[in-house]
Structures are given as C-alpha cells and as structure tokens.
C-alpha cells in the first residue's frame, strides 16, 4: 500500500501535462449512490485530468446551495465514508487520473484519521483536501501520516490570505495550492474582473513552488480560460453538479459538459 509514496499521479500530472490542467469536483454517491465511479469514469473519458471526490457532510459551511444539495442527496442515498471506501475498491485501475478526496474534518475524525489515510492508500487515492483542518494541527498530527500513506496535501489560499501565509502553505503543500478565486462560498458565477486578474497576477509573480489550481466561480469556457491564464489549471464543481442534477444520461451529459469547457479534450 505504501508504493503510493514512490510514484504519485498528482506529481506526474503536473510534470507531464502541457496545457492547462482541467480538474473537476463531484460529490460521492451523487446523483445516485452507485454513480460515484460511473461519474469518475465519464469525467476521465471526457478528458478531465484530475478528479476531486467530495465525501458529503451534513453542515458544509463553505459551500453554496448546489454543493449543499448534492451533499444532502448523497447522505439521503446512504453515502458514508465506509460505503465510499467500499465503492472505491473498484477505482484502480479503471480510473487512471489522479483522484483526491475532499471534505470536512468531522467525518474523518469519527472514522479515525489514521484509518482514513490507510483506507485512502489502499484504494489508490492520491491526495486530500480537508479545508477545515487547521494548519498547526496538520503539522503536528497529519503531515507525517499523509506522507506515510503517500497522500499529497492541498491547501486553499484566498484573495485575503497574506503573502507570508501563502509562502507557508506553499511550503507545506505536497500536491498543489487551491487558489480560491473570490471571497465567496462555492457555486458563485462571477466574471473575472480586474481585482481577480490582479490577484492571479500577484500569485503568478510570487513564483510559488507548488502548482496553482484555481477554483470557485469557474462555470464555462470563458471563466476557465480567464481564470487559468496565469495559473497551472482550474477546477469546476458546482457547474458540473448542476449538469448531473438534471441528467438522464450521465456519460453523454458529462461529455457535453466537459467539451463545452474545453473542446480539444
């Protein structure tokens, strides 16, 4: 299981990808309980290069209405970390792209942090995004555990994050930095205005050692291209979930959604 540590799909991706990296977030167990791998496969087949798989939480306080609804629905469907790890037994080798788990800390605490990392490594998860895990606690209790199980860490930065903290997070991240594009919960649809361009410029000029992936507010081709112009790639979540919410045919709807963002895929 620790062979994960030797070669990591996230590192390989950023090393090899030539254009902007396209990543997508989806909620595990959504729209139906057993759709988790089906959606991942459809995303991979449509050309998505990295997947963030959200495990649902009852109180997602950094998320807007779309992801809140997907969390509620997934929980109603019966999703839990135990069910998810069972489903993910079939993740590899069918899914070749890097897959990260993303979610709130409380379910991880109840599952047991070490057991959680072990389960991630066992099914071939490449990295973790736990936005409400405090940095000091990460350094004290999680950093070496993540490393032992070959899991890459991802940290968020926002337009309000001071430069010295960005440097610290850059030093700690082993996967990438998640550049939150705007002060907002997930799912806002904002144009890339001058203040966001200046923010991306500022991040670009810091010449950070971690790859920078921008997320929050990307919902179409224009916002993807504008947001990623100076950064390594971009992440879409709410817009995809909205497409899935109405979907009768996951494969073709995911393909259409991804191609509308980037037709060369």
């Amino acid at each position: 299981m620790r062979s994960n540590a030797l070669c990591n799909r996230i590192g390989d991706l950023f090393e090899k990808a030539e254009g902007k990296v396209l990543s997508m977030f989806t909620t595990a167990g959504y729209p139906q309980l057993d759709d988790t791998l089906r959606v991942c496969k459809a995303l991979q087949d449509a050309g998505v290069e990295m997947i963030e798989l959200g495990f649902p939480f009852s109180d997602p306080l950094a998320d807007g209405p779309t992801i809140q609804r997907s969390n509620e629905r997934a929980l109603q469907n019966g999703m839990s970390l135990s069910v998810l790890f069972e489903q993910l037994q079939g993740l590899r080798p069918a899914i070749r792209v890097p897959v990260l788990l993303m979610g709130y800390l409380n379910p991880v605490l109840q599952y047991g942090p070490e057991r959680f990392c072990a389960s991630c490594a066992e099914v071939g998860i490449d990295g973790l995004i736990l936005p409400d895990l405090p940095i000091d606690e990460y350094c004290e209790r999680y950093q070496s555990m993540f490393a032992d199980y070959g899991l890459r860490s991802v940290f968020l930065i926002t337009p309000q994050t001071p430069p010295e903290r960005i440097r610290r997070l850059d030093g700690l991240a082993t996967g990438f930095l998640y550049v939150v594009s705007v002060a907002s919960v997930t799912g806002s649809k904002l144009a890339v205005d001058d203040s966001r361009k200046q923010y991306f410029q500022r991040i670009h000029e810091m010449k950070l050692s971690s790859p920078t992936m921008v997320g929050f507010g990307i919902h179409d081709r224009l916002s993807f291209e504008d947001s990623t112009a100076l950064l390594r790639g971009g992440i879409l979540g709410s817009a995809l979930l909205q497409a899935l919410e109405k979907s009768n045919d996951i494969e073709s709807d995911v393909r259409a959604f991804v191609h509308a963002i980037r037709s060369d895929s």
């Binding site: 209405p65 809140q68 709130y104 991880v108 405090p134 939150v180 907002s184 919960v185």
Partner: protein, 397 residues
C-alpha cells in the same frame, strides 16, 4: 486545573479554530486584537456605561421567597430577564458591537434561534447606526414570530434559512457563508459561547458580568458570602458560562448546567449534547457534538428554540470532562410545568430556555442554609404561544 482558554485557543482538548481558509483572515484579526481591545480602559468605560444606562445593569439578585419555601433551600434568581430586550444576550451584543466599531466594520451579521440574540444584535445595531442582517431558521421564525417582528421594527433584515434542518445550527451555517462572502466590512456577532476561537472566550468575557455581580450582590444583600451552587440552562451555553465564570476557581461553589432533554434523553429527540454527544467538530470548534457514527451532525430537538442545538460551547465540554461543572437535563414537559410554577409562585414568566433550569430545582440537593443561585436568563413573552397551548392541554384533562 485551568478552566480558561490557553494561548492556542483551547480549553483542555476542546476549542480551537477549525475553519476553512476563507475565514482565517477574519478570525486571525479577531484573535490578534480581542483581548487587547476589550481590556483597554476606554473600551471598558464605554462598555460599563452602556451596561448601566442602556441595558439596565446591575440586574437584581432576587430572593424567591415562595419558591424557596417549597424547595427547602434559599433560592436567588439572577434576573437577566430584566435586561433591556429581555435576556442576557444583550451583554454580549453590546460588547461585540463596540469591538466591531473599533475594527472599523460597517455591517453586522448574526444567527439566532429563539430570536433573543437576534433582537439583542438588531438593538445594538440600531443604537450604533450599523446595518444588521440576522439569519434565522424558517422553523424558528414560525415558533418565535414576535421576535421576528421586533428585529424588523429595529431595522434589521431577517433572512429565513431554508437549508438543512432550518433551525439554529443551519442559521449559523448561513451566517458563516455570509461572512465568507463579506470578509472585509462585516463582523459576525455569534450569540453563544460557541464557534472558532476567540468566540467562546470572548462571549464568556462579555457575559461574565453576570457572575461578577452575583459575587458582590450575595454578600452585600444576604447573610451568605458564597453560593452553595449556581444553576443555569445550557444550549450553546452563554448564560451558563457567564454565571459560572467568576466562580470557576472557587471549587466550593457547585456549578450545574441544565440541558434540554427534549422528549427524553433516549427518545432520539433530544438536545442534551453533553449527555448524548461525542467529540467532534461543529461550527469551527472541537467540542461535544450529537452526530451519527459517520460524523454527520444530527438534528437536535427541544421545544425551546434557543436550546435546540446539537453542539455545546467548548468550555462547557471541558468543564464537563474535568468534572468542575455537572450537567443534567430537563424534558420539554418538565420545562413547561416549571415555567407555570414560577409564574404562579413568583409572578415571573420565564423564557422556555430558562424553564429547563427551573425544572431541575426540585431534584437539587441543598440544605436550608445553602443558598442556590439560578440564572433567570430571559423572559417568556416570546413563548406565550407554547405556554398557552400547554395550559389548554392541562385544563382539558
């Protein structure tokens, strides 16, 4: 034993700031300055002046003669219900609005359950001429309708929360989301001793005026020097921590928190978090939380909207774990009966939240020379619909 917050924002193993990066700058700003600002002479003088002239402090420590006779021990009621706006919540709201002004914030947000904190926040915002948005669960807006009207009359915008279980916990989620979207000009006035550090400690400091006054009123007005015990209801736990604060390091004073058992501790419909919760993270702090084995937060149940919360302040979790305070519970029915009893014996209609503390008194063990202080945290006008319905049911038997 240290019962107060440490330099890292923890009470023992509880507390901390478990927040997404979007909230880190706001919280870091507060962490960096709150103690310094609160301790400034100019701040304290303005705070004390407002508590006296606007809120109406000190509140009386009233010897409840008829209830004492019935109970067999001397009972004193700390009359927080006589504060302006009718509950202890205003103490914290006044403190935080002064802090917000010093931070240059131009907009205030708050969550509310029973509406008492929302009313207190709307009140201080009107006083200072600051915009105010209050998030309130749709279900609570219905069961505490008079408070919705009060907030609106005071100029606040009340936003109905339709997500999740549509009560206090969900209102707190929505307020956090608002704060994420408005990180620079907005201050979030949390109403209870919950949330990320420094909120639990800050709210305790503003509410500790309750125990400060008990500490001098009891020897000044009665033959006793110290209370035998102090009793208060606990949802998030702000009135209780305020009533306990100055006695934490006086071990001869017993501290008792009364949680809302709802329909019973084992009914599956309860809000008694210390009795039924496990360690977890909710609303930015590590504390006791009612949750499933998968770590999903469960819905609390209490007839009292102010106690209807699946978490509890981290300092209470610490006081429970160390044994410094003892936590008991009272059901919906017991609370309703206790409210009627206080009305008939003392001519005081208490809030439903407070009624839970009153419901415990009959089981409390104290002798005829052992003075007991109960924090009468709020008045019951807002709960008249529930009281009338209960009264009708009792009469129909």
């Amino acid at each position: 034993m240290n019962y107060n917050v440490d330099t890292r924002g923890f009470f023992g193993s509880f507390g901390g700031a478990y927040i997404p990066e979007m909230l880190v700058p706001n919280i870091a700003e507060l962490q960096a300055c709150y103690r310094e600002v609160i301790e400034e002479a100019a701040f304290q003088s303005e705070f004390q002046q407002l508590l006296r002239d606007y809120v109406g402090r000190p509140t009386p420590l009233y010897p409840a003669r008829r209830l004492s006779e019935k109970l067999g021990y001397p009972l004193f009621l700390k009359r927080e219900d006589l504060n302006h706006t009718g509950a202890h919540k205003i103490n914290n709201a006044v403190g935080q609005i002064l802090l917000a002004q010093r931070l240059g914030k131009r907009r205030i947000i708050a969550e509310t359950g029973a509406g008492q904190h929302g009313v207190a926040t709307a009140t201080v915002c009107a006083l200072m001429g600051i915009e105010c948005v209050v998030y309130m669960g749709e279900i609570d807006m219905h069961r505490q309708a008079p408070n919705v009207q009060r907030m609106q009359m005071l100029g606040a915008t009340v936003r109905a929360v339709t997500s999740g279980s549509r009560v206090l916990k969900d209102a707190a989620n929505e307020a956090m989301r608002d704060w994420i979207a408005n990180p620079e000009d907005t201050h979030y006035i949390i109403g209870s001793a919950v949330g990320p550090h420094p909120y639990p400690d800050m709210v305790m400091r503003f509410q500790s005026v309750i125990s400060e006054e008990i500490r001098w009123q009891l020897p000044a007005q009665t033959p006793y020097t110290l209370p035998h015990s102090i009793i208060a209801c606990v949802g998030g736990g702000s009135n209780a921590i305020g009533a306990f604060a100055r006695f934490l390091d006086t071990p001869e004073v017993a501290l008792i928190g009364v949680e809302a058992a709802g329909k019973g501790l084992d009914s599956g419909e309860t809000a008694a978090t210390i009795a039924r919760g496990r360690e977890g993270v909710l609303h930015g702090s590590r504390t006791l939380v009612m949750q499933t084995s998968d770590g999903q937060i469960t819905e609390a149940h209490s007839i009292s909207a102010g106690l209807d919360y699946p978490g509890v302040g981290p300092q209470h979790a610490h006081l429970a774990r160390t044994g410094r305070a003892r936590y008991v519970s009272a059901t919906d029915e017991q609370a309703l009966a206790a409210a009627h009893e206080l009305a008939r014996l003392e001519g005081i209609i208490p809030a439903l939240e407070t009624a839970h503390a009153l419901a415990y008194l009959a089981q409390h063990d104290a002798g005829p020379d052992e003075p007991v202080v109960l924090c009468l945290s709020g008045r019951g006008d807002k709960d008249m619909a529930a009281y009338s319905e209960h009264h009708r049911k009792e009469m129909s038997f």
